[in-house]
Amino acid sequence: MEHIRTTKVEQVKLLDRFSSSNKALTGTLYLTATHLLFIDFHQKETWILHHHIASVEKLALTTSGCPLVIQCKNFRTVHFIVPRERDCHDIYNSLLQLSKQAKYEDLYAFSYNPKQNDSERLRGWQLIDLAEEYQRMGVPNSNWQLSDANRDYKICETYPKELYVPRIASKPIIVGSSKFRSKGRFPVLSYYHQSKEAAICRCSQPLSGFSARCLEDEHLLQAISKANPANHYMYVVDTRPRLNAMANRAAGKGYENEDNYSNIRFQFVGIENIHVMRSSLQRLLEVSGSRGLSVGDLYSGLQSSGWLRHVQAVLGAAVVLAKAVTTESASVLVHCSDGWDRTSQVCSLGSLLLDPYYRTVRGFMVLIEKDWISFGHKFSERCGHLDGDPKEVSPVFTQFLECVWHLTEQFPQAFEFNEAFLLQIHEHIHSCQFGNFIGNCQKEREELKLKEKTYSLWPFLLEDRVKYLNPLYQPQAQEFAVLEPNTVSFNFKFWRNMYHQFDRTLHPRQSVFNIIANMNEQNKQLENDIKDLESKATNE
């Protein structure tokens, strides 16, 4: 690689950022085309993928050498001391180049080769099938049908091709509505609740300005109401704070006027935008990453960052959705501005509360494929996969995973997967090792030929399934059919295992989770042995 000048530096020190005794490990630093590797004198290896690097900083020279601080997107922070400044400078420059790619084709996924043949790779991509998922939900049916309106991404570039809409909504209505919505993202089905016959739909904001109307859009909303035989009014949930939505009206956008739409109940749920979320998490990490932190500092930092307040708001919005569906059998239409950040969060969390399937390992993959990947959450921009506009980067998906984690904490028996699963997914939205999260929408992914050139993450996670199972999971328990989380403030905690996942000194020294998982495994093994022996005994 042309960016690498120095490939190996010896006598490098790795500092522990939370150790009070300034302990350091000495070892050798290697720079490869894809990773930075540190091997300490115990032969323990620390691998850092170039794509994970969010920032590299070279600090002022000290007597022991030149400090190099690397912050990663998976919240790892490493602090090296390189003996010679020249080496440090070379590595610093190489990492600056290697961590920011200009072209998709230079991302790791395009060179990653897990030694699978083409048919294995293709089977991996076919593992999660959204057509199958809509069938599982119960569509198409007498009220909902698959629309081919977006077959060539003509109406909406950032939507998938397969979209489900009310049967009575004709193509002209759909086209008309899409012209009245930001980025053409007209109302479509996100989740169908079979027994309540209620739907969760999603879209972007209407281009209503101060007074504009669109009859087709009004018809489409009415069609969604009518597709629900149980309840003729529907909720329209604008996930933005009221002020933001009102400000959008001046730009010719805005929100639905209740007077123009029949039978809608409109409400704001007040989730802040991607810029607020980005600086909020940044502030939180600044606080929690500082040395010699006092308890007061941590909690006032948690407060001033606003992070937990935002997490509470997102989860609160999902509760609104789930309640409307379960207690009123009402359909809900969700939007924010463009309908790919807050809308993805709220729709997917609402579905997760309503449907136990999404709380299984496989179901959770389906949920991410559906509400995030296919509906055009801009993973590449939000995760900063390429060297681009830093204002487009925002931890929206991380925040979604945190909401899920809070649910697993409140309902320890309702999820088939464990925290390690969430952390692993988070690792890979940034790693660019697999094709799933590359690109910003399905159209772009097709153009990149990701299914031919890269591998899907899901089969690899399924292969390691045992690692991600929750030993306390009770799939049959009726009380967990629909989750009703309590969003009272004290139920929200700092997610140490995410934001300090690599700071081992901060973690409990023993894991209950591993022990129980092991015992469960042993119990199952022994039960199987007994069954085997019994069947042998009866056969003989």
């Binding site: 932190l293 006092s294 941590l298 606003g306 307040r309 309590n486 000194t505 119990n523």
Partner: protein
Amino acid sequence: MEFSELIRTGQAQAELLRGPEAPPLRGTLCVTGHHLLLSPGPQATPDLWLLLLRSVDSIEKRVAGDCGTITLRCKDLRVLQLDIEGVEATLNIARSIEALSSLESVITSFPFFYRPKGLRLGDAWHFHPPERYYKRVAREVLLRSSQPLIGPQKRRCAEDEALLRAVLAGSRPGARGFIVDTRSAQTAKQARMTGGGTEAKAAYPGWKRLHRPLERGRPLQESFVHLVEACGDLEQSMDHWLSRLAGCRWLAHVKEALSTACLAAQGMEREGACILVHGAEGTDSTLVVTSLAQLILDPSSRTMAGFQELVEREWIQAGHPFQLRCAHSAFSHARPKHEAPTFLLFLDCVWQLGRQFPLSLEFGEGMLLALFDHAYASPFGTFLCNSEQERCLCEVRTRTHSLWSGLNQLKEQRKLRNPLYVPNPLALWPSVEPQSLRLWQGLFLRWTRPPEPSEAAWEKVWQIVTDQEKTEGSQPTVSASELQL
């Protein structure tokens, strides 16, 4: 004195509300000398609902029309509401509860009348003779005392100096000692004005003094009160909650106590030093430090029996004034005099230790909750009085039952034990970074959050462990590497 003089109304019809989760209970309410009883009508369940009057921390009454409402805030942080028929009855019952719950006489308290089936008086009162934690092989000792009486004249005491010299001489040759003073250097110096003080360097060669100020007394009580207040507010915004959590400083006190205990333990374990811990009286923060240091270092204090011994030795026999410190909990409107949740602070630190080493303590959260409850109000005699001397005078050991015999009954074990316990011979060094400490929800939010999901999960853990024991016929298998990561 007759209790009957204090009981103004024998009984009334009432409905009891026990929080959002439990169904209301309707029946005949009755005040007795030590209890509040609610007897449901014959058609309902025959079970009596019973509340020890001693556990009432504050009482609030309201009347409207011809009924009244009494809100009882209990020392275990429970809040109960009684809707009572009749204004007169409400007021009388409230007054009776007020009078009976604040009686100061020890020998008329309930433990002197409590005679449960299956327990014999005198059981489990006798532990091994009190001894400090002593590492027989390494010869380091952990000592506790009160402050030396230096006074403004900078007095010295030859016998005291000789005693500390002898401690070092009895250890290995060249041994050093650390004096951990749980007050700031300034407070310790100021104590001279009232006859106290701290050891002068020149007078105690070989001993080095370290000051680790720990909060005690009134500020600690206020911290507790503010935290409990914050935990009772279900409507507050996230910002408000977090600022109250920071502002009450409870977790900061937990961090300081744990760090100081780690310091004392580290001095012994890693530097082979002898440690003397004291504050002013040696009956509060001193005990937090010495008892936690033992849990950190000594595996035998982490067993069910060992922990009970530790509490008995380092708290009860060491003269922690339970009666004064636990006279009121977090709800009382009375101006605090001697109240301070020192023992609760210790229990919280133990809980944090248990969270970080979930396999290494034989007792579980249930044990810590039980100790908290019984320290503030109990049918057993264990936490009565302020010192051994007072307990002797009141004949507590012969006339009341010991809490330990109550807890060691078989039916209590599942609640109190940690199903995952595996003896761990190593020292337990906890992380005291704020990111590693958590609010003890099981205590502070015990009555406000729905307990079902976590209780059901705990049941499942028990089931997995029992299955394992059945199939394996042995202790759960844990490799050495899992003992300490």
